[in-house]
Symmetry: D2
Subunit: 284 residues, 4 copies
Amino acid sequence: MPLTLLKISCPDRVGLLARLTTFVAYHGGNLLEVNQFTDPVSKWFFARLAIDTRSLALDSAALHKAFAPLAADLEGEWTIRETKQKMRVVILVSKLDHCLADLLWRWRSGELPIEIPLIISNHQDLQPVVEREGVPFAYVPVTPETKATAFEKMATLFCDAQADLLVLARYMQIFPSELCKEWHGRLINIHHSFLPSFAGANPYKRAYARGVKLIGATCHYATADLDAGPIIDQEVVRVEHFHTPEDMLRLGRDCERMALARGVRYHVEDRVLIHGNRSIVFRD
Amino acid sequence: MPLTLLKISCPDRVGLLARLTTFVAYHGGNLLEVNQFTDPVSKWFFARLAIDTRSLALDSAALHKAFAPLAADLEGEWTIRETKQKMRVVILVSKLDHCLADLLWRWRSGELPIEIPLIISNHQDLQPVVEREGVPFAYVPVTPETKATAFEKMATLFCDAQADLLVLARYMQIFPSELCKEWHGRLINIHHSFLPSFAGANPYKRAYARGVKLIGATCHYATADLDAGPIIDQEVVRVEHFHTPEDMLRLGRDCERMALARGVRYHVEDRVLIHGNRSIVFRD
Amino acid sequence: MPLTLLKISCPDRVGLLARLTTFVAYHGGNLLEVNQFTDPVSKWFFARLAIDTRSLALDSAALHKAFAPLAADLEGEWTIRETKQKMRVVILVSKLDHCLADLLWRWRSGELPIEIPLIISNHQDLQPVVEREGVPFAYVPVTPETKATAFEKMATLFCDAQADLLVLARYMQIFPSELCKEWHGRLINIHHSFLPSFAGANPYKRAYARGVKLIGATCHYATADLDAGPIIDQEVVRVEHFHTPEDMLRLGRDCERMALARGVRYHVEDRVLIHGNRSIVFRD
Amino acid sequence: MPLTLLKISCPDRVGLLARLTTFVAYHGGNLLEVNQFTDPVSKWFFARLAIDTRSLALDSAALHKAFAPLAADLEGEWTIRETKQKMRVVILVSKLDHCLADLLWRWRSGELPIEIPLIISNHQDLQPVVEREGVPFAYVPVTPETKATAFEKMATLFCDAQADLLVLARYMQIFPSELCKEWHGRLINIHHSFLPSFAGANPYKRAYARGVKLIGATCHYATADLDAGPIIDQEVVRVEHFHTPEDMLRLGRDCERMALARGVRYHVEDRVLIHGNRSIVFRD
């Protein structure tokens, strides 16, 4: 069913949800899913309304226009988007392909409602598994010397691809902070530990050394602070004394796949709202 | 914070949530939590609105009266309840005390917002652990011959205790079907398996014999059909080949405690709506 | 590291493990992993010994010969296998490819130490995704009329492929009971529910109708009794009222993938011993 | 069944398990459970052998004597203990009673095979719930000025109580490092986060601020380094954006209870071996 998704966050006040739902009802919109959250700590309001597009008396552009004055009055940050327009997701990888393969399968099978205009890597290893899916592949090597120009080149690629979202699927390069800022809220990373434990390099090795009994993965929005951005989802798995660092790599891969797939899914279905360093996630 | 909880289920139609939230806003109500669900299969609408009691311009009785015409128009089943009036929960036990001890701790510590006017058992074993908490204990033995009169006596006790909810905390007697009907939606049972697996007697023994790798517990509304009522919550734990039936009893106790405590919590916070044999649970 | 795996089950008696480990030590074998289980209910003994192949003074054939008298004395059922000889796994699929894609990825990446000599399907849909991996694909349609000959043909294919293990990766045909018997303990199925709940057809649909709060998947050895064979592993995921049957299909796919991958892994690493309808699984 | 538990860790070498099991068999010992682990990284060997006490030809003292030369030859660290002699566990608490109540229930019901000779607190709040169980309670207030003498007093109490194990059940005082050293491997703490995340004070508050989607608890041996000792067990639970810091406290309590109860259980059943900062835990 084609949906129109209205997402808004704004300061809380009495009658907010009434005004939003009345607005939708006024235009004939049949609400299929409503998620609302009022943060008692920050006194902020968050909502996601999924409307049956066909029930609306207005088209998307007109709805935007009609909603703008209300949103302005509410001092809201908002988006309206139709699901028939799938988000365009550019994926960045290095050499490890487990997250990539998982995303590709979910995309190909239709589970993940996205388009993948481009996959970028700083290595050529994964070119064959990308191209056999019919997805364009760009090889952009990154060396300490070429880092600046490489990322400039990638920034151009993102724009040319009209990307809505960048996904770092075990991309082993640190993103420049200007790019992190420019793509804030549209740059998703998968980190192979349950943050804030083991931020940074070699988390499995450090998890082994610490002797933890749970390892995990964290899907989060990348920010200029390494592994410190808003968390979308986390996944853990039990480990025991007999699990070697190699076993942790293996078990961790499944955590990474699951957390990343869910995080991307929530984002491309407009289920995530960011507030400071916290994420409101209206799960499905 | 004192809350007024409005719970409603009714046939879905356009503008439902707008009408409900507008009603609340009209009476000055500040919405702290709104949960809504439209079942796409049955086309039924469910909502729970948590309103700051102090923000309402009406008292509870007046709010009831004001809401009645709207509810009638929506053909809704509904309740309005203030949380300052805690639900009165009568607990039934036999000889096993793990669920009882858990509920008592959560009640005593204030985690579970309930009153416990009475605990009933068909054995006298648990009388001391009940009475040391200052809770009245009623010993109502049940034998095949006295079953009818025993349950009549208990029905009287429920009424005298002005019970809002009955909890079967490993009460090893089958409730008469008339009582199940009379208390429909207000009679919670904990079954020691992940239903529908191993409904009926000796679930751990049968789980062991079947060689399952997960055991669990199910908190559900009891109905005249044994272990077939609407499920509120379930909990599972992994077992391995080295777990004996006794180990399963031990591990299962924690599942039972957790599932029952959550189920009771959801119920007494008006977070559960029953629809046929399914439960809508707005978790917290 | 090349391992020699000794697996044995036999009636329990005093000194069993001493005799086994002394046998290994006598031949110079360095034990890297020893798993042992004595079932207190059936008084049966199970063990798996992983020996550094290079430390053994005998080659595999000689070790077999040397072990046979001891095994006979213990009335044991046993195998000795070198891991350098990977198990040959024939996979059967219908139209759904999530389990297949997952197994293929784990095989291709080296995570799953198997060879895949053949993939068989009763449909042609998955031929491309199989053949692009360089794996032979056999199309064996099954209709009510041709069922007997189709399975005869497949039985021949299994033998020709020198299969050690058959995996039903969401193969939607019921295996003939003679084949189940012939391949007992070497025929793994993934069922899309947490057995014994929802054995048979349409488990997600029935799970939805029952209103369960957990759905799952079960990896088990197929026997002539449908979905009743020894369970190797199970996986569950929480569901809520807002999950439609389609959502359950989606969430369930990840359970199926995980349970199947683990079950196959345990089998091909000789970590599973069957005893009646129970599985001893020495996890890694 | 009365068990004799032999626990040993030593450098790995060929034939180790054969020598141990042959030793046991030589003295008529029937092995009910054998757990063994060879750490491939440190080349260290760990084992726990559970022997039916009644099958042994020697009493415990004689078995000790008989085993000593073998253990010396293996350069092993070892213990032999009969389960009929339950470990004596002294529990320390402050004001929060959820972990204490849980341990008391498990002890009283016989689930946890321990004796509790004494419970110590720096507050008097929990004296009634302790004394009604018939357990001696010692009130040892700790102020910055009296800290040294308070811990001296407690050290005396531990000895007088002939404690085998000290359990810090949300005891909100930092243990002096000399006491940590003296009780190394016999001092268990429950920390209310999944370590290494949020070591130190106020973990739930910091977890909320970080916006994690999982919170947890860690049962570990306390060492002089705060929250950095060997981990025995961890437990996590999912949280969502709507969970306030108070909700986290509530959900976390169940994690703490579970992780602590398991950790204590593993310890008092001699299932834990410490190696550097890692714990080998032969779970049951």
